[in-house]
């Protein structure tokens, strides 16, 4: 305290003058905006949205992995079917075709599919007696790997060469069998991407509404801060920070819930023991990409809050 002209003792700092006039941030300023935290909608909305986006993203990545694994598996693969009703003739043509194939330039490997594997393949449809009785003329199959691309013209030429020694030979690229499957997988991947984008928009819309509500609830405080010399940027930063904290809590919760759901789903699918599913497992890079979902969601929430608040503040004096 100090003596002043009028004999009145004023707080000393009033006689000295005060502080620099910069902008400040920090926790205490953030408390200016009344915090609703878990009672507000933002954490819950973000948790649900992030969980759905993460699961959709994981689905998309798993489908991509499946497609990639299948593509690698089938790359350069052809199947030669020897369609011949008489077993002896079928066997002769199969041996001749196999011998010829092994001499053709560009064929890296060729092998006859064993009879027991063929029996196992048709067993679900024809039963166990099919192979033994040989009543049903199951074609002989040759599995071969070719170097280079499997252009239709190349396959047609190969089939023409093979038919000279095995008239019942039919050549198919293995990938063509799965073309519809790949098409369906690609569609599902686009669908998961579309879902993520739509959920991101929905997140933005929810944050926009919440930010407007928060603005309405804190209108008096905002006016006071304005009248005390607070800038739009300062005020927007308060809301942005508050909503970011809420969003971060929600995003972390949602992401953890999604991870748990993905593990449960992964265990269920792995129990299927189907070849095509085994390639769907998520790798480290996939998880790193999924980790972007909550981060981007929080960024979307922050930017939406800032944009909403700045836009509303421009309407005030």
């Amino acid at each position: 305290m100090s003596e002043n002209g009028g004999g009145l003792r004023l707080p000393e700092f009033l006689s000295r003058g005060l502080f620099g006039r910069g902008l400040a941030g920090g926790r205490r300023q953030a408390e200016l905006v009344a915090q609703a935290r878990l009672s507000g909608p933002i954490p819950w909305v973000l948790a649900i949205m992030v969980a759905l986006m993460t699961i959709a993203g994981a689905g998309g990545l798993a489908l991509r992995n499946t497609a990639q694994a299948a593509a690698v598996e089938l790359s350069g693969g052809i199947t030669v079917q020897i369609v011949e009703a008489r077993p002896e003739e079928r066997s002769r043509q199969a041996d001749a075709a196999l011998a010829l194939l092994r001499r053709v330039e560009g064929v890296r490997a060729a092998q006859l599919v064993p009879q027991d594997e063929l029996d196992a393949l048709v067993e679900p449809w024809l039963g166990t007696a099919a192979g033994e009785a040989a009543d049903v003329p199951v074609p002989a199959l040759i599995d071969a790997r070719l170097a280079g691309s499997l252009a239709p013209a190349r396959l047609a030429k190969l089939q023409e060469v093979l038919r000279k020694v095995a008239p019942g030979a039919r050549v198919d690229a293995q990938s063509t069998w799965l073309k519809p499957v790949f098409g369906a997988i690609a569609s599902l991947q686009w669908l998961s991407l579309a879902l993520i984008v739509m959920l991101a928009f929905a997140t933005g819309a929810a944050v926009l509404l919440a930010a407007r509500t928060a603005l309405g609830n804190n209108r008096d405080t905002i006016e006071i801060v304005h009248l005390l010399g607070g800038t739009d940027t300062q005020i927007a930063r308060l809301f942005q920070r508050s909503i970011a904290i809420d969003a971060a809590w929600g995003a972390v919760g949602g992401f953890l819930a999604a991870v748990a759901a993905i593990f449960v789903l992964a265990r269920s699918f792995s129990a299927l023991q189907a070849g095509i599913v085994s390639g769907a497992a998520l790798g480290l890079l996939d998880w790193a990409q999924l980790l972007l979902v909550p981060i981007v969601a929080v960024l979307v929430a922050m930017l939406t809050a800032r944009w909403t608040v700045m836009r509303a503040l421009r309407g005030m004096l």
């Binding site: 009145l8 004023l10 707080p11 006689s15 400040a24 408390e31 008096d220 304005h226 010399g229």
Partner: protein
């Protein structure tokens, strides 16, 4: 009058104010507030005191006329530059306008935080200020738990803590006991002696006589009824000072 605005805190020139399409609540206001002066703004209820104060603390733009504050045209000033002017003001609102979820301490600290003071810088001033207004033991109390008089003292502490160049107070002693009213008035006077221009809106005619060097601006139905102003009592000191409306 200094036409260039140099050396004047506030200059109103033919200012009028109407809310939306209603009648003018303030008309043809032309006056100048000089640095280091102490003004009482008086008038009956509905005379336009609060509206005039709103123009002074930049909560409202006038419908017509020109206002210069601190040498700057406050009418054409882009709104993003308004905070620079507002930080040179201290305002005591009639309804206190404390932030309800903040403590008395945080309410008083608010202008300093807005201005960029660090927590270390502001702790002592805020504590001293609250002690000075007799609220040392109520620092952590929220406004809802404070009496009207206590809230008013918090509001006044918040208004003066930044040592503003212009202090605008709307009925600042309306809710405090006479002893505290005198003490707060002495605070305004002391700040005034340090160079702060003070404008106090009040109904209380007794208050006018307690600040001998003050000038009076009397509003009547939105107009300054005595645009030349006059001191509450004759004195050589006040007669020599510039008065509101002088030079029109």
């Amino acid at each position: 009058m200094n036409a260039a605005g140099e050396g004047e805190i506030v200059q109103f020139d033919n200012v009028g104010l109407r809310y939306e399409t209603g009648r003018e609540v303030l008309s043809d206001l032309s006056f100048t507030l000089y640095p280091g002066s102490f003004y009482f703004l008086t008038g009956a209820s509905g005379a336009g005191k609060t509206s005039l104060l709103k123009l002074l603390y930049l909560a409202q733009r006038p419908s017509r006329g020109a206002i210069r504050m601190f040498g700057t045209d406050a009418i054409t000033l882009p709104r993003e530059r308004l905070p620079q002017l507002r930080r040179r003001l201290g305002v005591v609102f009639q309804d206190f306008r404390l932030v309800p979820h903040l403590s008395a301490y945080d309410n008083v600290a608010l202008p300093l935080r807005v201005a960029g003071a660090t927590e270390r810088e502001l702790t002592r001033p805020v504590t001293d200020m609250l002690e000075w207004v007799g609220l040392a033991d109520r620092m952590t109390a929220r406004p809802a738990t404070l009496s009207g008089g206590e809230q008013q003292r918090v509001a006044i502490a918040r208004a003066v803590i930044g040592r503003p160049q212009l202090l605008v107070a709307d009925e600042p002693t309306g809710n405090v006991d006479p002893e505290m009213a005198i003490k707060l008035l002495r605070l305004f006077e002391a700040l005034n002696r340090l160079g702060t221009t003070v404008v106090v809106a009040t109904h209380d005619v007794h208050l006018l006589r307690k600040v001998p060097d003050s000038l009076i601006m009397r509003l009547d139905k939105g107009r300054l009824s005595d645009p030349t102003g006059y001191p509450p009592r004759d004195s050589a000191a006040t007669a020599a000072r510039p008065v509101a409306g002088e030079g029109q």
